[in-house]
Symmetry: C2
Subunit: 437 residues, 2 copies
Amino acid sequence: MANFMSICTMRNLLVLSLALNLSLIMRVFYEGEKHGPRGFSAQKADRALEKAAHATQRTLVSLSSSGQDDGEKLINLDHGDPTMYESYWQQMGEKTTVVIPGWQSMSYFSDVKNPCWFLEPEFAKQVVRLHNLVGNAVTEGRQIVVGTGSSQLFLAALYALAPKDASEPISVISAAPFYSSYPSMTDYLKSGLYKWAGDARSFDKEGPYIELVTSPNNPDGFVRHSMVNRTGGILVHDLAYYWPQYTPISSAADHDLTLFTVSKATGHAGTRIGWALVKDPEVAKKMIKFIELSTIGVSRDSQLRAARILEVIINSSQNPGGPESGESFFKISYHFMAERWQLLREAVNKGRFFSLPDFQQGFCQFLNQVSQPQPAFAWLKCEDEGVEDCESLLRGHKILTRGGRSFGVGPKYVRVSMLDRDHNFNLFLKRLASIQT
Amino acid sequence: MANFMSICTMRNLLVLSLALNLSLIMRVFYEGEKHGPRGFSAQKADRALEKAAHATQRTLVSLSSSGQDDGEKLINLDHGDPTMYESYWQQMGEKTTVVIPGWQSMSYFSDVKNPCWFLEPEFAKQVVRLHNLVGNAVTEGRQIVVGTGSSQLFLAALYALAPKDASEPISVISAAPFYSSYPSMTDYLKSGLYKWAGDARSFDKEGPYIELVTSPNNPDGFVRHSMVNRTGGILVHDLAYYWPQYTPISSAADHDLTLFTVSKATGHAGTRIGWALVKDPEVAKKMIKFIELSTIGVSRDSQLRAARILEVIINSSQNPGGPESGESFFKISYHFMAERWQLLREAVNKGRFFSLPDFQQGFCQFLNQVSQPQPAFAWLKCEDEGVEDCESLLRGHKILTRGGRSFGVGPKYVRVSMLDRDHNFNLFLKRLASIQT
């Protein structure tokens, strides 16, 4: 036990030291850019930064592969908890801090002149600025509706879009593999307004329906469009992952009802803030009514915090590496995701036991370069014929994932979070490698 | 116009000056208590403080009655927006401030070891401390479930208590006058699990039911117990107003499922935080599941803020007037409410047009004195035979209230918020007086 403790401590110190290295490297580049000769290009800094990040992460990986993993620790990659982003926000320091005095934001009302009376004007302003900057969604002519995460907005959308006096509940569908919570969220209250009707690909019922289009898709990461092509369909676009670190931004989304969430965009899941961009004011009004009835508005504190976070991201993108703005959030996150996907593909390609989806690269308008899709989840398939249930296999190696059945497909698939902290991600890679040998 | 502006400015200056007086008076007493001879009792300071607060408020009232009300301003006393409390929190200064760095509370999870994994341990700790201090609820042997306001917890309770495989939805009832949102919150999703069944007094359907007991009651302020006395009933106690400023604390509530909310306890409505004390762990588990499915947890930022606010209140009660703790929140709020109710009763008693409920005083264990019920809402009745609809009458005088029909009774009644800012409350009194003359 004493021996184990001493190994742990040494290892922790090493990890700490490596993390410090990374931070120092970043500082050197930041200082270099600030004080360096004119013409020291941002791209150059980016590439160097990328290499340095790679080198450090590889060392971390080799460290965790060097026999330090005692195999006892449970790695929970079932949820998409975006704790990977913590290190970026730590590096950004005090400019990310929000200060709320006891007498601020006490009233229920954020803005009595806005149909969405619980929407903080500062949050709405930063949402519009961010979309204009990234180019991933049209905000003009849209009502912004804020929600307690995008889950609440998904339910608000069902409520708003379902006919109130129909003889039976409207069908809610999505193409498999679909987000695993859609069926239970739709059906848990046995609503007479809407009802889960399964895979959009096999949907053949007459009459109106609501189709959920998640793009890039959770769990598999592919860009998606509506699968059912007939009249009477109402579309809800869940674009939680349509950000430059996960997928090329090909054009500004211009749909009737689009959902976004802070948790996947910036990593602030605990803040519980999402937003919808809604074209039809009557639909927006009903969504607002839903939020009134279910939670009488949305935390003003969280909206203020989210506004600050979005503002920091915008500044970091508009003036990357500047003394006030810090390193570009989307570029750093893109590099981190690229590195993780490269390491994962290397680990998977060492054997024939697993496979991953292949994506087509595309031109990202925001990054102004060709970029690879690198989703927030890995949609891993157990190719080995002896394995029926991939989730059980991984659980046997103390890796918690979510099995394919939850997403409407077979148990050969699992969804694995790519957004956990470095330590867990690296342990995961090591255990994947050990399964294949 | 120029003349009007100059009056306004003078009036504003006067109000400002009076507010400053109040603050100075409080400071004098606070200093007196800190530096005065031993034996200068807290009660003495309390009484002087109370008188000073009365004097200032009366001057404010006479000021607003002196012809400065142009009659054009709409006073919205329809909602129970607790903005009255802002002045207390302003006086308390920086100790009430919460500071949240960008890298804090990013994960979905607050406490993986707690069945309620989204409950911030610090918030839970302050909830228990507060109940122990005030003596208004038993916390031992209870699971605390945090919610996005008590609205979400009310819905979570319906979900948790309704049988999942019944042939028809369970009846949900409450004795009229009942909280106006209960019927719409219960029925808006046309749930197959539960259904609004109206006034508990006339409920005679066989089989199980859920009875909502709000005590003190919203809208009329009376202490309540279950109205239906037979087997098969499940009780949900909404004790949002069971705090010393509104009603005598006679004993610690010891029910199966009890709801509280920060908005009515401390005035922080925009924070959207409520909590439930739940005896049966299985019921608590289902409530937690509801919150997972509807919003994937509760804002961690708001919980951290609420924890700070509760801590400040506890300190102010344990060491009132101390240099670090400030004036006792509950005592000051009690005095403010007492003053408002006295002014309102005076205004109503000037004529025979209106009436108010009569309450029995009781001994408050927390204040250690006999105290009067002084509810957060005034349940006003138009006694005049010529008035059919009290809400319409008041709307004609640009006072927005909520009419009796919303609460399951007749239109002779209206509910009026007693928790608005001074200016609006005083305008309301003035207009009430003008209706009676």
